[in-house]
Symmetry: C2
Subunit: 411 residues, 2 copies
């Protein structure tokens, strides 16, 4: 097959952009060269000469010789402007910006269709791990039942340190920031938003469902307290920030991001530091498990490179599952077994929201309840008492288990 | 993209063939139907009516309407005859037969090129795990440094039982046979031959190197004794049958199948039962880890189905790395840190073959040595004393470590 020559216009020259530049120098077999790089700040010192850079996006967007735009900037709104303009000009686009892709999924899909150009974004979900490509290509017919994973490297690093080195959450976050794994304003990561954007992207390629960020519930790790940490340690568990989606029996599915207790038997237990791990479950193949680095300049650049390489073969996402139109609907009407940590005096009021209570514990100023609660009740409590309660998922309650528990509660 | 209508001629109706038949019934979205099934034994009772079957391979090979042959028979020689005849007739082929693919890799590559038809065999390596597709598509430019994995489900089941239930090797094998995970003549699995065939296939798609089965060294698990098992248990290790290949610095690479001690920190430690797990290491993306069921009718049928689905899009392996011709050469001139179990009186003679000794132990009838030995010496000892010695890999000695050890030995 003849490979296309790619002339790349690159937006952004941060760690990933620079990583990509280096990586491309080392892979001359690939017929791709960076023709121009657009950056914002004229005065910032850079590793390569000023002749490589422009400060005007139109120098790239209007250059007819540039057939691929690689977008690696931080600002999701500016990124969307660039990406949509590039698609309208018939240029293929590679992006690593999960927030941008998640917030504009439908528009970006429409633009790809209208202008018949590909947009690839493997690096936007789990960095180097080829998860989108596998969901798109390999789970075509063997239908997915569920997908579950650790998809945010920064929070996984923080949680790993919290457990391995007995650090408090605040100290672990500080350490992650000092090492550059977490932003100075880390709420996108620690609040579970970044994980939600990735879940949204995975959902489209897993189940063919296009959600908006508002559709999906996310709870992060920034409110995990000592009581939950001690509970986990005493029972030999770890806490991981887990994004998951699973189908019900009636054309519904649920999707959310929650901190979760994982046992040593759970594959995710062993996914530590900045690694990401995703478990898929299908009707025929049982479970698959993918692990790879979820952060870092080279792993991200490697995914971008793989997308660039795919463009030389005219690869594009087919979005088969979206066009198959299975009419799935998202539901909060599912039962979750959770631990809820609360202020001491709130226990009795909070219990009313549970469909089944397993344990209750209080000490002089706080306590916890474990038991089954619906996702919709969990969302209500969280919205009503942000910061005062903390939920950790123990397990998803199957429809069968929920029915049995409901019968027992009646009896 | 318009999808091709596939008319399938199926060879073999064992557990996988029957699994595929069922799976195809449940995926009507796929434009593929089984037109004819060729089996050997007329009198065997089958789950579906006799009208679906033929007993003459030419009924399929000469049927111009059949555009895909799916080969799922046990006999590698008969399989090669069928597959090569089908390719010559311009039919696309899907096969799950690792022995056949491994023994005839070059011929099958030539046939695909000469007749311009695809041969897909994802199910031949690690069953449902999409490892070949990932090696072929995703590690195109980010060059692989090494690949390592548990690629045989039967032996992994046996080893898991040996450790988890304290069974002897013989009892665990018996149990695996009773459950249908191991053949009545299990030497292909337990001798590491099946793992070697898979390694050979992975090598072609990882490094672009076409080996013959004779080129690659394999040692199985059938000679592991109580001494090694006790050693592992005392030190908190497990023994896994590991296939691996890794590049040196000078255009050489090594590839072999050996039992290996793995620590709880090693990702392969947690790959148990019939699961397979593969770790890739690349220059940019660091490590990736893939886990999936390595045996079973449905997981294997699922991989076959995925290949069939890919054919509806005219997918074929590009074999880019083979055609890139990197001129790698296979070498045995590498150092391995191993445990060698031996008969008591042989210790001193065996030590002479090591480049460095770390520990030596003897009891009243046997003993072990741990230390560094070259792969070529290991192969010589194994050939000279089959059954009397047992090697378990501890680790690959890096070129740097080997140089330091050589200096220390001189000093």
């Amino acid at each position: 097959m003849a490979r296309k020559q790619l002339n790349i216009g690159l937006f952004g020259f941060g760690v990933v952009g620079h990583g990509l530049y280096e990586v491309l120098q080392k892979t001359p077999g690939l017929k791709a060269n960076i023709k121009n790089i657009c950056v914002k700040d004229k005065d910032k010192p850079r590793e390569i000469g000023a002749e490589h850079f422009t400060y005007d996006k139109n120098d790239i967007l209007n250059d007819a010789e540039i057939n691929v735009v690689v977008e690696l900037i931080d600002d999701a709104d500016a990124a969307f402007e660039i990406v949509s303009a590039a698609l309208r000009k018939g240029k293929a686009v590679v992006s690593a910006n999960k927030k941008m892709v998640a917030e504009h999924f439908q528009e970006l899909l429409d633009l790809q269709r209208e202008y018949n150009v590909p947009l690839l974004y493997e690096a936007a979900a789990c960095a180097s791990m080829p998860i989108i490509r596998n969901l798109e290509e390999y789970y075509d017919n063997d239908l997915l039942e569920s997908i579950e994973g650790i998809v945010n490297g920064s929070t996984n690093y923080i949680l790993t340190k919290t457990f391995a080195e007995n650090l408090s959450y605040a100290d672990a976050l500080k350490q992650a920031q000092d090492l550059g794994f977490a932003e100075s304003n880390p709420i996108l990561d620690t609040g579970g938003f970044d994980a939600k954007y990735k879940l949204l992207i995975l959902l489209a390629h897993s189940f063919g469902y296009i959600a908006t960020p508002e559709d999906l519930f996310n709870l992060g790790i920034d409110n995990i307290g000592d009581l939950e940490l001690r509970y986990a340690k005493e029972k030999g568990l770890k806490i991981k920030l887990v994004a998951q989606a699973y189908k019900g029996t009636d054309g519904t599915f649920s999707a959310f991001v929650l901190p979760k207790f994982v046992t040593p038997e759970d594959r995710l237990y062993h996914v530590d530091d900045v690694f990401n791990g995703v478990i898929t479950k299908t009707s025929f193949a049982d479970t698959h498990f993918f692990v790879g680095k979820g952060a870092g300049a080279y792993p991200t650049a490697s995914a971008v490179l793989s997308d660039i390489s795919a463009l030389t073969y005219d690869y594009k996402y087919e979005y088969k599952k979206i066009y198959r139109e299975e009419n799935l609907s998202l539901t909060d009407n599912v039962e979750l077994k959770v631990l809820l940590r609360h202020k001491k005096d709130d226990a009795e009021a909070l219990k009313l929201h549970f469909s089944a209570i397993e344990e209750a514990y209080t000490n002089k100023d706080s306590g916890y309840i474990t038991g089954n609660i619906s996702l919709s009740n969990l969302k209500k409590l969280q919205a009503a008492q942000p910061g005062e309660v903390s939920f950790i998922l123990i397990s998803v309650v199957s429809e069968q288990e929920a029915a049995i528990a409901a019968q027992e509660a009646l009896a």
